[in-house]
Amino acid sequence: MKIVIVSGEVHCMASDPAMEIVRELGRVTMTRASDVEWDETSQEWVATTRGGQEIARGGSRTEVIAREVRVLEGRL
């Protein structure tokens, strides 16, 4: 889990453990980071950024989300 502090703001991927640690720092704003949808053609879960870039895919939704979070966290 990564917490980035820049210009007086804290950025992180939202998760229960992360929010437990950072919530008391101030007012929280949430922005949806991705879409995880079922691809009928490939019969897999596909995670894409809000801009449409594919960042993870696979048969297990849980695993796709875990990979997706790692990718998004690396971009914080």
Binding site: M1, K2, I3, V4, I5, V6, S7, G8, E9, V10, H11, C12, M13, A14, P17, A18, M19, E20, I21, V22, R23, E24, L25, G26, R27, V28, T29, M30, T31, R32, A33, S34, D35, V36, E37, W38, Q43, E44, W45, A47, G58, G59, S60, R61, I65, E68, V69, L72, L76
Partner: protein, 188 residues
């Protein structure tokens, strides 16, 4: 692996596609796919609400603990001529301890705000030992540096609190890079 979702609910009722005929049957609560959780970015605008962390951060910025006035209730700040100002704060750096500053600097841990006069935000003036960090008085950059230190202490305190409750969490890395502070935690 393939999940077939004929009824549009997740998880699938039957994992036959994964485990073969007679495979695992899911009895967990199911929900429409559109309502499943997705990832979110969290952004927090830092407020100074934790007294102990704020005091530690102010020490990092060059003050001695004895120079940091801690009040149980908000008190008035004073200006250059000793005049009482309308602003009130519970954590106060009096002007005689703020080199180059004309007025008291205050923090309200109730609202989380820092109170710095417009004059002090605009002029160069700081503790000599911090001169290299100064770019022009107690301006936004200075406040952001203070928030950087403050956040580190709040996170450390929260980690300590969670560890005392038996949770397996620890800070594994803490570094500054490209004008950012990045704290990495291992949470299990």
């Amino acid at each position: 692996m393939v999940h077939r979702l004929p009824d549009g609910l997740y998880p699938p009722r039957n994992y036959q596609s994964l485990y073969g005929e007679g495979g695992l049957v899911c009895n967990k609560p199911r929900m429409p796919l559109k309502e499943l959780p997705v990832s979110h970015y969290a952004k927090i605008s830092v407020k100074f609400a934790n007294r102990e962390a704020l005091i530690d951060a102010l020490v990092d910025m060059g003050w001695r603990r004895g120079q940091i006035e801690v009040n149980s209730v908000p008190v008035h700040l004073y200006g250059y001529h000793g005049d009482e100002r309308p602003e009130m704060a519970d954590i106060v750096i009096r002007r005689e301890n703020v080199q180059g500053s004309a007025n008291d600097i205050g923090f309200s841990t109730v609202t989380g705000d820092v109170i710095i006069s417009d004059y002090d935000r605009s002029v160069a003036g700081a503790l000599a030992l911090l001169s290299a960090q100064k770019t022009g008085g107690y301006n936004e950059a200075w406040v952001n540096t203070l928030k950087d230190h403050y956040t580190g202490y709040v996170v450390q305190r929260k980690v300590n609190e969670l560890q005392s409750k038996g949770k397996r969490v620890k800070i594994t890395d803490d570094r500054r890079e490209n004008g950012r502070r990045v704290i990495t935690l291992d949470v299990r």
